[in-house]
Symmetry: C2
Subunit: 349 residues, 2 copies
DNA sequence: TAGAGCCTGGACAACGTTGTCAGATGCGGG
DNA sequence: CCCGCATCTGACAACGTTGTCCAGGCTCTA
């Protein structure tokens, strides 16, 4: 008996999920549909008396405009998408917050998701956001091929990449100067007398990791130091492997006297290892982190401004939205070396 | 000449924003509209050959289904809203991430925003999410009156409050045991010989702050200690005022020998102050934070599990969505005292 | 080879809103 | 007293998708 089944569905649906529409409000207030729309949107041309009647009906029914329908009609969603790597990573908190503030200032909502550093998941997420018809996208890319975004770009979805450049596609990108920052950090260690300096970083597949490695090599080369393979550890971020990598560098006949850590998670783990071994090994980390100043010694870092990255990207996004696409541009934000002690230790004999 | 103006608008709109629809795909593939819909949604009843033709047209045009229209038709949006206090606060990173993971497992997207601890902004945000017709809401409340949500609850919007209870409304809530945690933390200090113990926390208007204060008072009373007004500092979280509050407690003829800090931001500031003064004052903080173990002394904390809060709330949300509303329930998650040194210091003479 | 039944494809309405346009109402002036 | 005008209101189509329902063509069997 399909009739009954259908009836049943309808009842269930109306019990949870059916909300009053403008039509309902109009009926209750004894006015036309469009008049309700006018009141809801604060359009002119409604007598105060009519407006009051409509407003009463709205309150009585608990009506809320259905933005899905509105979006369908108007074309713009007043929402932007943010795809980042991991919300739980403290680096992305301020970035995300900055993007949100800018979005809010432009009356837009933020839809976000984490790619967990998985290119496939990134694409899935981005396309889901596009299906929602977000007006724009801020993406911290996990993958290195973003050609799947071509139709979106052509259709005018404003897009800005942050922290790492887009792959095989022309798009705006906002970066920290990873190369220069790493070079400066390593040069700082060299200036304090170190020659055997270790590097622990992420997979070179990741642009920032590659750039930081390049900065490390450049600084070493500038100082005329040949780098031993055993000083470099790439593609290593989980605490257990970082720990092993650090311990290996510190063992052997000619151990490193200083370590450059490629990102804040690596830095923290290295701090732990050094605290345990108790050896006075110098350390400079890429990325600042909370409480770095409270440790003993304080941790010297190459700081990037996560909030500025987010703010810059979001502002550029809305400039695209307001004025149509600008030429793709690459914006490099400077880094800053903060000396706190760990980077100024002299080499152990 | 309004004709021209309108024409102009239309061109601009079509240049950026007009995307191919199923109709376009259907025309290009030489099939009917519904057939395209079937292919896009993987419904059965399409010959492989037809499917291939449709798929080619989709790829050629760069078609993406418009989920706004889909939502309008189907009723459910497969998205949930998360309203929290401040994404940049490290406490909310793991919480937010946990909510996202659960949402993802249920095929839903997460839309979020920060209330910045402002009740009005919270309401604005929640209602904007409801207008988007999110299927459910996870709210960390800033205000204490949520009657504005009554129509939404009646309409079946699944809602779970986290970290603080809802005001004047019956709804699910997932909390950490603030009272018990604070009482245990303060009792721990008392057990180590302290009697003059300071408390620095947020405004008692905030439920968790009030509960933690209550826990402090309870522990003191249990030990038969009369609390002096000068030992308590309420409504204080910004670093400058926390600093002053701590300094005042430590000055005067009978300074406190231990401090209980009401949340992690307060704790960190107090750590700074104590590090500067160099006095051996005992400290227990509510909320764990990264690196607490690396400080000297390590910081003893009452830890709550932010990820568990988020996970529990989101899971409950989807249980509501799957099975209709359950009775409103309050879930208390236990806290855990982690001894690291700062809470075990004996009172200075 | 004709009829029954299945499989594929398409026409049409509906979701809730907004833009367009035309009708209704009331007012003042001739 | 009637006309013109301004102001307010409502009917209608459209946004892009999906659910329903029906038509046509095919295969299989008798």
């Amino acid at each position: 008996m399909p009739e009954t089944a259908r009836r049943g569905d309808r009842i269930a649906a109306s019990r949870y999920g059916n909300r009053p529409t403008m039509k309902d409000v109009a009926a209750r207030a004894g006015v036309g549909l469009k008049t309700v729309s006018r009141v809801v949107n604060g359009e002119p041309g409604v007598t105060p008396d009519t407006e009051r009647r409509v407003q009463e009906a709205i309150d009585a029914l608990g009506f809320r405009r259905n933005d899905s329908a509105r979006v369908l009609r108007k074309g713009r969603t007043a929402s932007i998408g943010l795809v980042l790597e991991d919300l739980a990573d403290p680096f992305y908190g301020p970035l995300s917050r900055a993007v949100e503030e800018v979005a809010r200032a432009h009356g837009a909502l933020l839809i976000n998701g984490s790619s967990a550093e998985d290119p496939e998941r990134e694409q899935e997420l981005v396309l889901a956001l596009c299906a929602r018809r977000v007006d724009g996208l801020v993406v911290i890319p996990a993958g290195d091929d973003h050609r799947y975004l071509e139709p979106e770009l052509k259709a005018g979805v404003a897009t800005v990449f942050v922290d790492r450049p887009a792959g095989r596609i022309d798009a705006d990108v906002v970066l920290s100067d990873s190369f220069g920052g790493a070079r400066d950090g390593v040069a700082h260690l060299i200036a304090h007398g170190h020659r055997r300096i270790g590097f622990i970083g992420d997979m070179p597949r990741i642009h920032t990791a590659a750039e930081r490695l390049r900065g490390y090599r450049a600084a070493m080369e500038d100082a005329g130091i040949a780098v031993a393979d055993t000083w470099m550890s790439l593609g290593v971020t989980d605490p257990e492997r970082v720990r092993r990598a650090a311990e290996e560098m510190l063992a052997g006949p000619s151990p490193v006297t200083a370590i450059f850590a490629g990102n804040n998670r690596v830095t923290v783990t290295v701090v732990r290892v050094l605290a345990e071994t108790g050896r006075p090994v110098a350390l400079v980390g890429f990325d600042d982190f909370e409480l770095a100043d409270l440790l003993r010694p304080g941790v010297t870092v190459v700081a990037q401004d996560a909030a500025a990255l987010g703010r810059t990207a979001a502002e550029r996004l809305f400039r695209q939205l307001d004025g149509g696409p600008l030429g793709p541009e690459r914006i490099d934000l400077p880094t800053r070396l903060i000396q706190r002690g760990s980077g100024e230790l002299p080499p152990a004999p």
